[in-house]
């Protein structure tokens, strides 16, 4: 199709240039500031040109703060979040799509409803549950009168207590309790031809064999997409790790980074060091995006179809 589209192409190019500048600008300023000394920032303000202090500032972050151990926490949280979400939602989507069960619709609706109310909204009571994950069980025993019964028979009611606060499990579990993965895999299973299933049955494949030998290899790209997506979301979480872990050695890197900024308004904070921290904390997810961008984009599109 040949036509004169010069005016629109010029406008589009300008828009894209502004958009790229908007995204890259703050990232560039972070990097250039991280490579300057504190004194330079005090006299010159924002660093427009990169300096030579990047590794000095990074070394300061690594030696003087808990960021390294916190990055290890972030790694554990993000990785287990991705792994658990992929595995558990794959299994539940499999059960919902490939089994003749009457409650499939109800279970899927219950899982999908989690998308409506994000963790950040229900953080107060999620914290209470995490501080004793048996509290719902205790409440059920109390309400049903079973506890009054045991109190009569054995002299004391059942009261179990187990806090998952300040543990990696506690940081990860509420993130996994989310429906996006199940939704994504269900959509994927529904696009597969029915004959695939019939052929596998005819060859004598049982549920487990069908899952491992046929569905899993086919779903590899979807698994990869969901993995990248949930890894990034686990790494970038803020509010839940902030309340779920109270000691610096259990906090995640993003929370640790936010804690680098001093609360007092007195003097100008050591911005080069903080920016070096921001660079360090963002290094892992950005590398991941650079390497696995195809899966990230696919994941974003798939999760909303």
């Amino acid at each position: 199709m040949v036509e004169n589209a010069r005016s629109i192409n010029i406008v589009a190019s300008i828009l894209l240039a502004i958009g790229i500048l908007y995204i890259v600008g703050p990232l560039y300023l972070t990097l250039s500031t991280a490579s300057q000394s504190y004194e330079y920032i005090l006299t010159n303000g924002l660093a427009w040109v990169p300096g030579t202090e990047l590794f000095t500032n990074m070394a300061k972050v690594i030696h003087d703060t808990r960021i390294p151990v916190q990055m290890l926490n972030s790694m554990i949280v993000a990785f287990s979040n991705a792994l658990a979400t992929c595995a558990l939602s794959f299994l539940s989507a499999y059960a919902i799509v490939y089994f003749r069960i009457r409650w499939a619709g109800v279970v899927f609706a219950l899982i999908l409803a989690t998308i409506m109310l994000p963790l950040d909204i229900r953080v107060i009571t999620t914290y209470q549950v995490a501080s004793n994950i048996f509290s719902p069980l205790n409440a059920v025993l109390d309400v049903t009168g079973l506890n009054a019964l045991t109190a009569n028979m054995f002299g004391a009611p059942v009261h179990l207590e187990l806090s998952v606060l300040n543990t990696h499990f506690g940081l990860v579990a509420p993130l996994v309790a989310h429906g996006t993965g199940t939704f994504l895999f269900r959509q994927f299973f529904l696009t597969l031809p029915k004959d695939l299933f019939k052929a596998a049955r005819m060859d004598g494949a049982g549920p487990i064999r069908f899952l491992i030998d046929i569905l899993l290899p086919l779903a590899r790209p979807s698994v990869a997409s969901l993995f990248v997506l949930t890894f990034l979301s686990g790494w970038t979480q803020y509010l839940w790790p902030l309340v779920g872990a109270s000691t610096p050695d259990m906090q995640t890197a993003v929370v640790g980074l936010a804690r680098l900024v001093p609360d007092s308004d007195g003097q100008v904070p050591d911005f080069p060091m903080i920016m070096a921290g921001a660079v360090l904390v963002s290094l892992v997810p950005l590398t991941m995006i650079a390497l696995l961008q195809r899966f990230l984009v696919q994941g974003l599109v798939l999760s909303e179809k």
Binding site: I23, L29, L88, T114, I124, T236, A258
Partner: protein, 296 residues
């Protein structure tokens, strides 16, 4: 949806497959949601100090608190401005990147980067860039003292919040909208061009109507997103200040619950916010969803 023979007939295996995820969802989603509503009718003492049924007193207390209404109002203002911008900016970029021009390949790559940067991290960075003494506006501030100070002026602080929110919202909305644009069949453009529609005209008459489902979707998700994910930005950029001018509801709930140990008040506000979010989504589906034609 499928014939009987195309499904497995096990009875206990599917239960076993669903159980792990369901257990987590019940424990960390349904119990907390239920508990927020339950606690809003009780006066809860912190540190497990017992509870007392108070009926609607918590709601009466929260609803008569001007701070709550202020935070609610700011939440709505933020939701409308930030989510409109967070959809409109990626929309323009997506329409531009959909054209075959030199920059579009680079843009498709670069515009997803923010997905890897935590809200709190970009909050720390934006707080520095917009710092009135050493940041971007410092030279202007030297010329016109008091022109820009997010630490003193509530509007300035609000603007920096919106700018940071739009920044981190670009990847998702851009990718979704671009995917929508790219799924428009080329024959549509050709037909429109044959009828004499210029490239500009085709934006309004072909592209926008055909990506309505994606546009609707980004709006629905962005409304909830702007209400909740703003916490990381507030906590790192403004701390709710100056003078409470950036204390949105999600931040106020955190402060009341974790700093003030007012569990009942925080739960009541959580319950109100949940109902608001659910109503909002329902309204959007009823009023907007119906008008959108999903047929291609």
């Amino acid at each position: 949806m499928s014939s009987e023979s195309s499904l497995f007939g096990h009875c206990w295996l599917p239960l076993l497959l669903v159980a792990p995820l369901m257990l987590l969802i019940v424990l960390f989603f349904y119990v907390p949601v239920f508990q927020a509503f339950y606690w809003s009718f009780f006066l809860e003492q912190p540190f497990g100090g017992g509870s007392e049924f108070v009926g609607l007193q918590n709601f009466a207390r929260v609803l008569s608190d001007p701070e709550f209404w202020m935070a609610g109002w700011r939440t709505i203002v933020f939701m409308l401005t930030a989510s409109t911008l967070a959809v409109a900016v990626p929309l323009m970029l997506a329409i531009a990147a959909d054209r075959k021009i030199g920059l579009s390949y680079a843009a498709r790559n670069i515009l997803v980067w923010p997905k890897g940067i935590a809200g709190a991290a970009i909050g720390v960075v934006f707080a520095f860039i917009f710092n009135p003494f050493v940041g971007l506006m410092a030279p202007l501030n030297a010329l016109f003292p008091g022109l820009w100070n997010p630490g003193m002026d509530g509007t300035d602080a609000f603007v920096t919040l919106v700018a940071a929110h739009v920044w981190s919202g670009i990847p998702f909305n851009f990718v979704i909208l671009l995917a929508g644009l790219r799924s428009i069949p080329p024959t549509m453009y050709q037909a429109a061009a044959m009828d004499g529609a210029s490239p500009w005209r085709r934006i309004a008459d072909v592209q926008l109507p055909l990506i309505m489902p994606q546009l609707f979707l980004t709006f629905v998700l962005e409304f909830t997103e702007s209400i909740t994910s703003v916490f990381a930005l507030i906590d790192t950029m403004t701390g709710g200040g100056p003078g409470g001018s950036t204390t949105l509801l999600v931040y106020k709930i955190y402060i009341d619950g974790f700093r003030g140990f007012d569990l009942s008040g925080a739960s009541t506000q959580t319950a109100i916010l949940m109902v608001f979010v659910l109503l909002l989504a329902a309204c959007q589906f009823v009023f907007l969803g119906r008008r959108i034609n999903y047929e291609r």
